[in-house]
Amino acid sequence: MSAWRRVSFFCAFVVTIMLLTGSTYAIPAFSRQYGTSCTTCHIDFPKLNDFGKAFKDAGFKFPKDDETFIKVPPVMLGAPAQKDMWPHVIFPGTIPGMPQIGLRFNQFFQYTGSSANKYYSGQVLPGTTPGQLLTPTIPNTDFEAGFFSIFMAGNFGSDIAFWVDDDLSVAGLNANGELGDGYLRFVNVGRFFKLPTDSLTLRVGQFELDLPFTQARSINISPYDIYTQANFGASNQNVNNVIQLADAAHGVEFSGGHQYGGYHYSVAVVDQSTSGTSAGNPANVPTPTGGQIGVPGVGFVSDTNYKDIYARFSYRFNLEKDPASRHDVQAAGATGPRDHTYLSLGTFYYEGRSNQHFTGYASDGVTPAVISAREPFYRVGGDFSFNYRNFNLFGLYMYGHDHDLVLNSAIVPTGFIPGAAVTFNGGFLEADYLVLPWVMTIMRWDRVQSTADFLSGAASGNYFSPAGSTRDRFTPGVQFLIHPNIKASFEYQYRPQQALYYSSSGQTVEPFRTNVATGALEFVY
């Protein structure tokens, strides 16, 4: 077993654990501010119902007559009459009357099939005396602390919304987390250009891309495999694209329309998510808050002016017969408002360039030289979502394509020549059924097809040695709200086959699966 394989396995396991603790948020601060239940906006938090989508679209406020619902009045940052002096600007504005802060903690228990340790069975530890065997390192049972997160969201009035979520602690004692999303959202700025209402909204900061189905605020314990699929070429290729669709991006986003009916679009221009230099690197000037050049500080992380572009368009057909109900935020039913029966169709496209820097010396053997491969790539896909009462069936397909630029010489390369593109595809299909207002059942199928992963013997994300180019995973789950803000979740991952050995004919020898059962307990307040 090679060292890199061992390391990749370890990393994959760690990543798996980290991803298992994926971010999910409901906003108790809104409950406090409006004096209303979580179910006003959520179905099995943090999944949004139609009203929750409208609330979010409107900039974290009620779509109509917001002020009549607020139980904690906002603080005016100036007398209302001040606005008479500045009628065309938003001065003086407001801030929420209470800190819009929510906290969340989760923890996990995981049972992993013992077959996971077949990986080490009979394997020789690299760099040690031949015959020394690795001992099994994946416990069958494992308790994991998850995240302790703080999140803030709200509206500053005048249609300016904000969101910040940060993990104070991640899976360990006093461990450091990181910023999730942090942005300002200027809702309906199209009004300044006399555009139709809600046709143009601006978001600036760090945010999850406008994915067809959110990963950051998913109800699932484990992430969608296709969202965490990076693209690494096989050994004869030179593609090392770490971008995953689930990654948070830095940039600006223009969007419009509504998530609860009709059209919706977004176009984001974001930093290249590739091999940017580290924030603390003193050579990476400027250092806006870090002081003088040469002193480690907080710098910009992008090493290129090139920006990636993400675009999405979707259209949702609300299928209510009654026109008034069809066009309203929620449909009217005999037992009260409910989510529409709808069919939503969408498409998305991400285009960027993957940077790789090669450092060495010029042909004189003395002069330092750097050559950079900027490999264009794109991700394109489609999605659908069908909802009928408490049943929601949705799915996504994505195709990924990376141009390959390989060094033009193995000895003294001076540039690149085109190689075979590295591609992958896959997606997921999920059915959610809300059996009771506090019981959600889930069935999910994930698929990723990547020949490069198979040839490399290492896949990104949750698997380390796929037995074939196609990786299927089935994940049934059930979730219980044992209290409106406390949730117990369970899922079982029937995972793809993996293999370490192949016969002379290329057939897998003793393939195995690292199936995992996970239970999660979390609360927000």
């Binding site: 179910t39 109509k64 009549t68 619902f69 935020v329 009260g336």
Partner: protein, 192 residues
């Protein structure tokens, strides 16, 4: 002649007074408003009032929180919110067979319902579980809502023997026999 007239007036006044007493007292053991009403004597019916009180759904709340009506009263349910609600009640006086769903209607519109059965009606909203209200249906026109200290007074109750019931949100009802003869005292101590 004059003396006779004065005597007649005095006798009539005494008669009328004896026919319309009051029941007053205090509901203790709980905080806030309580409802006290007189149960209907056997075989006795009362004409339904024509007045139709309004219960509003405003700011994700039922307003007023407690509405007391006589059986047979039609209550108008108004929606003043720009969000949809759904008014329903799971029981009337604890009888789950009397559950009813009024449905959903747009802002500014009302929907009537005639409450025939006495008892407390817990109002709920399917969409906003925090919304809570009560209609307390009294079988007779003799009822009162206490002040926040628990003091109440039911006026114009004909003399006689009755059963009087006290209701408070979240507490167990308490009923007791009361013989009304002029001003009568009846105190209640409720518990959760």
């Amino acid at each position: 002649m004059k003396r006779s007239l004065v005597l007649a007036v005095m006798l009539m006044t005494a008669f009328v007074t004896s026919q319309a007493g009051t029941i007053s007292g205090k509901v203790s053991g709980v905080a806030g408003e309580s409802v006290v009403y007189v149960e209907a004597p056997a075989g006795k019916t009362f004409p339904a009032p024509t007045q139709q009180p309004v219960i509003d759904q405003k700011g994700l709340m039922f307003q007023p929180h407690i509405t007391t009506v006589q059986a047979g009263t039609t209550v108008q349910f108004l929606n003043s919110d720009s969000v949809a609600h759904n008014v329903f009640w799971p029981s009337v006086g604890g009888n789950k067979k009397l559950t009813h769903n009024l449905g959903t209607w747009p802002k500014g519109e009302k929907r009537p319902f005639k409450f025939e059965n006495p008892g407390a009606v817990p109002l709920l909203c399917n969409v906003h579980p925090e919304m809570s209200g009560y209609v307390v249906v009294s079988p007779t026109p003799y009822f009162a809502v206490s002040d926040k200290s628990g003091e109440y007074k039911i006026e114009n109750v004909p003399d006689g023997s009755y059963t009087v019931t006290a209701w408070h949100e979240g507490a167990k009802n308490q009923s007791k026999p009361v013989a009304v003869a002029g001003d009568t005292k009846a105190d209640f101590t409720l518990s959760k």
